[in-house]
Symmetry: C2
């Protein structure tokens, strides 16, 4: 009897990675990446003597992760999101591109299409009891030469007082704590909200399971997300961190950066901020953003990561 | 300004793989496996210069794969299921264990709890128009010494005439083409059904997307699945393949094995098969199964892979 259907691990790997239907193009890039990942996993299973039961438990976990919508928490918590930023930083340095405001991960909780206003906005919900310390954040969006960028779209989003994000929390209204602000002729933006707390991964689910098994926490320090776009400028995805948080140097997503920790100015007088409904001293945060020049149209498209990946 | 939150790929990887909450045990095994996989993926991303868009497209694909319930098709199609069999075969050889009937992958379409009968069963649906060539498969379940095993549970399942499996196909009844047969005092089993065609992955969905990009087909040759359990015997998961199929040596799941291709005996007289409703010549398939002695109770539990992984 021939033994054409009997093979070793290495022979199997060669078959998996070389099989191809005759005359079918497919994508060389997908083949290359898939072959690398499959080969690495075959060798890991062999080197670590992974049992069938362990393999199926991991496969089941990955299925449940996909179904749970928590994939973006795992990529962040295992460092992949920050890795992509490190690689973009390295590419910028290699190309001699001005770096501007440090980039920081988008995270999985961005929602496109938040309410839009010019120059200023209330990001918190007007008329409701304020669940935190009143804050106004303001500044100027600049280009690489330091010139104000008029008409830049500043997309801002942050967690509520319980550390939860609207659209991922049945208790919050649509677009709660999510706004878009178009900078004025002087490149200025400002918005009122409240100082958010940190974020913690959901206590039940595939992400929590893995992090418990790793003996790791799932906390992020208090932060505010930004996605900033303007014609001719490279989209800037970043976050600012609020100082004093326990996790400021121990972010579960490895995403905090020293250049992004803002300074709080408590007791700022209300004068000049009446249009934001402010009549008592408040905490001011001043932060200017510096964008890079876009190398091509693609870089300036005001798209979040998923839209870019699919589009 | 300190640079404690700035790091290279290698420094990030060390942080990801070493971070641990003080006083929290977790699992050293999960940490070891996770560190290996994350490190391999970091290096793959760097070596292959994977872009952020590619990474997020892959992450989105993996999420959709988990949500689609097709994870088991991908593990089979990328060779992981066969890899686990190769590793079990190697462990058997190293331990000097008798191998018995070759094992073959369970696949993702097993359903526990099929209708049970003694000695013989109709696996196809009685009274319906027969959608294929009438077949009786029969044989003896033996132990490693060749002695018949009485009371063995033979769990059998196969695809319908369209290549689809009940419970994964809204057009089929519960447990259609799935039965359990308990061997008689002479270790015998027999069942009537029809010769099934091959299987092809669903034409739309994450599995089809990847295989299109790889330029690969998603076909399996015609086969019948078995999961056989008996007290003191190691559970045997295997498949038999029908000869003459185009894909007999080109299985998308790499799961066919030479020792498992059966011989068809068309024109077998009906005499002796009346209890299966047979009154005309039919195609007979004779196949004996040889089990291994179980090393411990765990090996003899009549569990499918998911139940083993979770339990």
């Amino acid at each position: 009897m021939s033994q054409k259907n009997e093979f070793t691990l290495q022979q199997l790997l060669e078959r998996v990675n070389s099989r191809r239907r005759s005359g079918d193009a497919g994508s060389d890039r997908v083949r290359t990446i898939t072959a690398r990942i499959v080969g690495d996993l075959f060798r890991a299973i062999d080197d670590l003597d992974v049992s069938a039961d362990e393999f199926w438990a991991a496969s089941d976990w990955l299925s449940r992760l996909g179904a749970s919508g928590q994939m973006g928490l795992i990529t962040a918590g295992l460092g992949f999101d920050r890795l992509l930023d490190i690689r973009d930083d390295e590419a910028d340095r290699a190309a001699g591109r001005a770096t501007g405001t440090p980039r920081a991960i988008e995270g999985p909780l961005y929602i496109a299409g938040a309410p839009l206003s010019r120059y200023e906005a209330r990001v918190d919900e007007e008329g409701e009891q304020i669940p935190g310390e009143v804050m106004v954040m303001e500044g100027v969006v600049r280009d690489a030469q330091g010139r104000p960028v008029a008409g830049a779209l500043v997309d801002v989003w942050h967690a509520n007082e319980k550390g939860r994000y609207s659209h991922f929390d049945p208790d919050q209204k649509e677009f709660a704590l999510r706004r878009r602000i178009e900078t004025d002729a002087q490149g200025r933006y400002r918005f009122r909200s409240y100082l958010p707390p940190g974020y913690e991964i959901p206590p039940v689910g595939p992400t929590a399971e893995l992090f418990q098994a790793l003996g790791r926490h799932g906390n992020r320090p208090a932060h505010i997300h930004f996605l900033i776009a303007a014609p001719g400028q490279r989209v800037l995805t970043t976050q600012v961190n609020l100082p004093g948080d326990t996790f400021i140097d121990d972010d579960f997503a490895f995403a905090t950066r020293d250049g992004l920790v803002v300074t709080l100015e408590p007791g700022t007088p209300a004068a000049g901020y009446e249009s934001l409904g402010i009549s008592a001293p408040f905490t001011r945060v001043q932060f200017d953003f510096t964008m890079q020049v876009a190398r091509d149209e693609e870089e300036s498209k005001p798209l979040a990561r998923m839209a870019r990946a699919v589009g």
